[in-house]
């Protein structure tokens, strides 16, 4: 008889083999269609912005890990995803300091000071983005950003054109096929609608994002925009322009679905997605911003803990002893 030391622990003794690393890796894989298209469209500067964004986001987390003498956590790729999604929302011509400042705000202020992964009340990439948009608004004027580019399609950012020239002016400028196929001016990873949808569907099928959020988000965009355009077709654009321009689709699949800042119960997820979309259309149609996606999702992040209390009753709760 031998006297081996056995491993002793509690049930369950199985695990389905999933991990944060795998989850985040899959999110990064899902961004590839949109990113590759963005690189083809906007060239080497787009590669530079994405690479700097991803690497600086991870570097910020590493620095905070070292400074706070905590375990090094960049291996879970959470900051990599933040950096990548953040990079996708920037114009390809962003200067290096803008990217680094943005990822600092996103990773350090948006995530690390709340306690790291899982503790952030807001989507970190959006915190960084909101900070940049409020501080250096001029860099997010996509028309100015791509002034030196020559495109074989309308070189106007659809939402800005809509805001400042009105719905009549843009009606013929942006055919739906152009918008879906990415023939529009915008941020690196946000123009190729089809690619974002493919990536999003991949994530839904793999179970890494919850389908309720993107579905209700898109439904919210369509319903609200339709209401506006039916009420005043001369003033407000139809739902398809809103859906395939600006940050709408990246918001639906990659921003609103960020785990720790979104609800996890079914009804709250539907409410969250829908009202984020309603807020976006309200901001675009009535508010001062050309694209309200960033602020709208941040606003709903704020409401998330409140609405996530709507949940089914647990088994056997509230039943008097029979």
């Amino acid at each position: 008889m031998n006297n081996n030391k056995l491993t002793v622990s509690h049930a369950p003794f199985w695990h389905d083999g999933d991990s944060l690393f795998k989850m985040n890796l899959n999110i990064m894989i899902a961004t590839l269609p949109a990113i590759i298209f963005g690189i083809i469209q906007f060239g080497a500067p787009a590669v530079g912005v994405l690479a700097l964004s991803l690497s600086s986001a991870m570097a910020w987390e590493l620095i905070i890990n070292v400074l706070s003498k905590k375990k090094i956590t960049i291996g879970d790729l959470d900051s990599a995803v933040i950096g990548l999604v953040f990079g996708m929302m920037l114009p390809a011509t962003s200067p290096w300091w803008l990217v680094i400042t943005g990822t600092f705000v996103a990773v350090v202020i948006g995530k690390m000071i709340f306690g790291g992964v899982g503790a952030n009340p807001f989507n970190p990439a959006l915190v960084g983005m909101a900070f940049l948009m409020l501080s250096w608004k001029v860099f997010f004027d996509f028309d100015a950003a791509y002034i030196n580019y020559e495109f074989n399609f309308t070189a106007l950012a659809p939402l800005a054109a809509l805001k400042f020239q009105g719905v009549d002016a843009v009606a013929d400028l942006f055919p739906l096929s152009d918008l879906i196929m990415g023939r529009q001016v915008g941020a690196i990873g946000s123009t190729f609608g089809l690619g974002l949808i493919i990536g999003g569907i991949y994530l839904i099928l793999r179970g890494y994002i919850r389908w309720e959020i993107p579905a209700s988000f898109i439904a919210g965009i369509i319903v609200t925009a339709l209401c506006f355009s039916m009420a005043k077709p001369d003033t407000y654009a139809g739902p398809m322009l809103h859906l395939f321009s600006g940050y709408t689709l990246i918001g639906a699949f990659f921003l609103a679905t960020e785990n720790s800042s979104s609800p996890a119960n079914r009804i709250p997820m539907l409410l969250y997605g829908f009202f984020a979309a309603v807020m976006i259309i309200l901001m675009r149609n009535i508010g001062a911003y050309a694209d309200g996606t960033v602020l709208a999702i941040l606003l709903l992040n704020l409401v998330n803990p409140l609405i996530d209390t709507i949940r089914p009753k647990a088994l056997g709760k509230g039943i008097s002893n029979a």
Partner: protein
């Protein structure tokens, strides 16, 4: 180990194994030279014990520690008591273990003590608690517990185990006879039986309601059977007996029937043994046989840092010793090689919601775990349904951050009981 499938839009499917249609005969493990019995009562050194080292014991003799003990065990062999010491389980509860040297050799024919069994539950409770399958006679004999439904479970509770299915398939007539005995001694009006869907048996039981349970885990857990088949909701923090339902395994019913027929006890426990590669063996071993004897019989090598799991992969427990004996309620033993042990982490919850969606009891595990990590057990129970948990282990199985969720929940329940006991 069952891994996540590539597409997981729907929930992972953990299905119960079905016993093969024509199962092989059981492999018999010889009676070992030394048997170990667990007695569910701690040693009190201030009192004179009834049993002492060196005492001779008869097959079928009832062993208890003190004069007024209510807990007992039955010696499965004729032999000598060689050792008595304290055993503590994974929650630190202490009991006693006895080592009995087998003097009868390999003969199973040695006559067991004849019991004076009458047709009432108290008489059965006096001798038959440690029958293979561990019939819940103590519970049924309690005066303050009113049981009006008994559910015979032919469907095994945890994954991989097929012990009770095997018993049902092979000894269906004895299950029916045992059920009659059970009805006669308990006078319980409702008798039900759970049979897994797809198990190929003739379902003709007189005056027993048959419940077909789904193959999807956790449909054979008591709380789920209550909900799905009896239309009863188990109140949070209560046990099935609190609402008048008692669960008894098919094997226990069979051995109860046999015991009443022969007026003596049977000691051969049927076990499902799962080797490192997932190979399944089905064995018959005497209660008290140390597990290493079983592993030896199938040349299963147990190395350092391997895990011996008793009771199934989702709800069982792991033991720290090869000497752990076969117990009356032990349906499955599995070995997990150290190279496939899943790791757990100290990561915080990332709120992915996997646990929430898979929880059959709708417990908000993602919020609950934050309270449990902070040792806020009362709040965890009041606001986040700690005691609604039916302990299926699915939350920890699917956790992306690999948080030991079920471990937290069990610790939380344990601490909560302690807290409430102190008040």
């Amino acid at each position: 180990m069952i891994k996540r499938s590539f597409f997981t839009l729907s929930q992972p499917m953990l299905n119960y194994d079905l016993v093969e249609p024509d199962p092989k005969e059981l492999e018999s493990i010889p009676i070992p030279p030394n048997l170990i019995l667990l007695l569910n009562e701690p040693i009190d050194s201030t009192r004179p014990p009834l049993i002492k080292k060196g005492a001779a014991v008869e097959k079928g003799e009832k062993l208890c520690l003190y004069n007024d003990s209510t807990e007992y065990t039955i010696s499965p062999v004729t032999g000598t008591l060689t050792f008595i010491d304290t055993y503590s389980d994974d929650f630190g509860n202490t009991s006693t273990y006895l080592v009995i040297k087998n003097d009868q050799g390999q003969t199973t024919k040695t006559d067991s003590a004849i019991y004076d069994l009458k047709d009432d539950i108290a008489s059965a409770d006096q001798y038959l608690r440690t029958l293979p399958g561990a019939p819940p006679l103590k519970l049924l004999a309690k005066d303050d517990v009113k049981i009006n439904t008994i559910v015979i479970t032919c469907a095994d509770t945890d994954l991989l185990s097929t012990t009770n299915q095997y018993v049902t398939l092979k000894f269906l007539d004895e299950v029916k006879q045992g059920a009659k005995v059970l009805k006669r001694i308990t006078h319980v009006p409702n008798l039900c039986i759970t049979i897994p869907e797809g198990l190929n048996i003739k379902e003709e039981f007189d005056s027993i309601k048959v419940f077909k349970t789904a193959l999807k885990y956790p449909s054979n857990l008591p709380a789920i059977i209550l909900k799905d088949h009896l239309n009863m909701i188990l109140p949070a923090g209560k046990k099935p007996e609190d609402i008048g339902v008692c669960f008894i395994s098919a094997e226990a019913v069979v051995s109860l029937g046999r015991a009443y027929k022969t007026k003596s006890a049977d000691f051969e426990k049927i076990l499902t043994v799962i080797g490192k590669q997932g190979t399944r063996y089905r064995v018959k071993a005497t209660i008290g046989t140390p597990l290493h004897k079983i592993f030896k019989a199938f040349s299963i090598l147990v190395n350092d840092q391997d895990r011996i799991i008793i009771g199934g992969p989702m709800m069982g427990f792991s033991t720290y010793t090869h000497l752990h004996p076969v117990q009356p309620d032990m349906d499955i033993v599995m070995i997990q090689g150290r190279d496939i042990l899943p790791e757990i982490s100290d990561y915080p919850c990332v709120n992915c919601g996997n646990c929430l969606r898979i929880c059959p009891a709708n417990v908000p595990v993602n919020i609950l775990v934050r309270y449990l990590e902070a040792d806020l057990y009362e709040e965890a129970d009041d606001k986040y349904d700690l005691s609604s948990c039916i302990e299926c282990g699915l939350c920890a199985y699917v956790c992306t951050a690999k948080i030991p969720l079920f471990q937290y929940i069990r610790l939380g329940k344990h601490e909560l009981l302690k807290l409430r006991a102190e008040v």
